[in-house]
Symmetry: C2
Subunit: 406 residues, 2 copies
């Protein structure tokens, strides 16, 4: 008998039919002899509806009250899911975040979990009940409702699995697992059976939408093995776990493409200490996240500084840079929104040389110009023209033979 | 400086506009130097929507899960109301039932309040904040969310006023107060300025829809003076409080008409002890509430038993009675759904004789036949033909000069 924590996201509990599907799936795991704890999100669309109503009343709603408001979404789903289980003869009980012992800090709308007691979950499981827990929400030490921010329900599930020392954590979602590339971009992309936390983190931060990095980090820190799989079929998904030696046999595990990038170039910047810091401090203060950065010395000893930001931030970023540098005459700020970032990720890079050379060779053969490069221990990213993005991703996927099982 | 508890029902917080109206009204009371605690219901229609969704999933949803589900409705409203107050510069904070210290028994969907601590409401008021409390909900001693059943938000407000020792409790609703009669039936009906708990209770149980009897009973028991008034204008409403001697100057305070009655007659019942008990025990077991009862002896020593029930219960009631009496041959069960109950209510009846005589005289002059009579210390009710109901109500209202201020 295994203790399994299952998480179902908003699309999986969107309406009555889908909630009934979730109930049947949960029951099938119970019938196989498992104890099951279910973490659910708000029904798809409900959170946005609540946010819209709030903004209509107050364009800048207090974060504490936003948490009070948004916590309703999951509360509705846990009650309906319990009723759906009862309807098919499966004893079940719902639990709000605070009832399941989610203790958080006081940062409303983006609270961090500081403890999970689990409440009476183990007792209820021992009685043969399924326990359905509201994801995304907790309570701070002052008794106020808090929410965990984006991807909060995944985090709830992983954290609960850690707190309960569950045997397995399953993240049911609308994709079948983690792929070697986005199948909409690379049609012969393949589902990965096993992947390390590090690779999953690199893919998450490279724009792969499967899971937020914080949930993966939490799982890694607490050694929670989890599976990402589809809530619409019975196929096994992708197991995410600590790196094992055999994983290094695969040099590159996946290709990620982020088409939502913009590039800013500041030219003829005086090449003296502190000017780059000036630019990035101003961007940090304006809450603009900078991704890749390249600096080189141009004509006459002046420096050129190039960096990428999310496309949505481009105008705010350019304005911030221009203001920060208004006392430097002759400095020019140019930008383009037509940039993509292509990354190859794999723990095998640690032990295999030549991955960068292979990547650059593939891109050159397909006439894709590399504008910027950045690397981590298990990742190489290049900034390229948006027009070349799809062609490049397909070529790199093929070039590293990612369509073939290792 | 007064401490006021204000309650706004579902129609008063139905949409964004109305929530903003409520916020402006609340702020005006604060600006006059009062401390204000606001109790709100779910937005109009939300509770029914949730119930419908639940029944679609499970025709017999567990009451515990219904409470979990329905409590969402008020949670949404408190957050939105707090945001609306913030938007007009009024500090405010929302509180769920359990955060406001509503402790109830374990009867899900119809819990009774066993204690109200108020939580930190007094501290927050002292900081200049408005505290917005979710009506209708509490928590039992096992930490489970409970709801108070029909009229629960009124009860929350009255109970909170008692717990906080508030100076005044205001029930804002979609009527302007308590009237001498339903203005849709009696056009010259007049708003009553002051009424006693007893009269309010008699009117509530006579089908006047202003408030559920349990809230009035709670107010009476704990000496909470409350005002029923409109949330759509600034007119004073009706103050409900303990009887004072001057109230007895008014012999009749109001006329109530209940058109939702049906009459059942059981004839030729053996006139021996226990047969009436048999009938009413069976009806009680079938959850049919019996209102007026008349028994008399008919032909040949057999008894006739006549009683009224709510029109919705008529078929269930007749079936139950027929089954209970199936071993008594010759008994006949007849019924009619075309009955109305007209009541006159007033604490003045205690000290004024002749009210019944006046009532019967008025009805006789208007050719209205009286089918049954029942009385309490401060009420006389008669069952009449439904066809005569409106005419009779107008005649009685005029006959007791209720259109004129006492």
């Amino acid at each position: 008998m295994a203790l399994i924590v299952q998480k179902y996201g908003g699309t999986s509990v969107k309406d009555v039919d889908r909630i009934q599907n979730v109930a049947r799936r949960v029951k099938s795991f119970v019938d196989q002899g498992n104890q099951v704890v279910v973490v659910v999100s708000a029904r798809g669309g409900v959170t946005n509806e609540l946010v819209d109503r709030a903004k209509e009343i107050n364009p800048h709603p207090a974060e504490r009250e936003m948490d009070m408001l948004l916590a309703c979404g999951e509360q509705e789903t846990i009650a309906l899911t319990a009723m759906a289980l009862h309807a098919i003869g499966q004893p079940a009980v719902s639990r709000l975040g605070y009832q399941a012992g989610f203790v958080t800090d006081k940062e409303h709308t983006r609270a961090r979990i500081i403890d999970i007691t689990g409440g009476d979950i183990k007792e209820r499981l021992a009685l043969g009940e399924v326990v359905i827990v509201a994801g995304f929400q907790g309570q701070n030490t002052e008794g106020e409702i808090t929410t965990l921010g984006r991807g909060g329900s995944d985090l709830s599930a992983v954290a609960l699995a850690a707190g309960l020392k569950a045997d397995l954590c399953q993240i049911f979602t609308d994709v079948e697992g983690v792929y070697t590339a986005d199948p909409r971009v690379v049609p012969n992309a393949r589902k990965i059976n096993e992947i390390s936390y590090e690779e999953m983190l690199e893919l998450a931060s490279m724009g792969s939408k499967v899971m937020q990095a914080r949930s993966v980090e939490f799982a890694q820190k607490h050694g929670v093995i989890f599976e990402v799989r589809s809530s619409f079929n019975d196929q096994p998904g992708t197991i995410v776990k600590a790196e094992v030696p055999s994983m290094e046999d695969v040099v590159v595990s996946g290709v990620a493409l982020d088409k939502n990038q913009a590039k800013i170039t500041v030219s003829d910047l005086p090449d003296k200490p502190g000017t780059a810091a000036l630019v990035f401090q101003a961007l940090g203060a304006a809450n603009v996240i900078v991704d890749m950065i390249v600096q080189n010395v141009g004509r006459g000893g002046a420096a050129n500084l190039t960096f990428t930001v999310a496309k949505d931030d481009i105008h705010r970023a350019v304005g911030t840079v221009e203001k920060a540098l208004e006392n430097y005459s002759g400095v020019k700020v140019n930008y383009t929104g037509d940039i993509a970032k292509l990354s190859v990720v794999g723990v095998g890079m640690r032990s295999h040389a030549g991955v960068a050379a292979t990547l650059f060779d593939i891109l050159a053969k397909h006439s894709v110009n590399i504008q910027m490069i950045s690397t981590s221990e298990i990742r190489i990213s290049v900034a390229i023209d948006l027009d070349n993005a799809v062609k490049a991703a397909q070529a790199v996927h093929d070039g590293f033979h990612l369509d073939q099982l290792a």
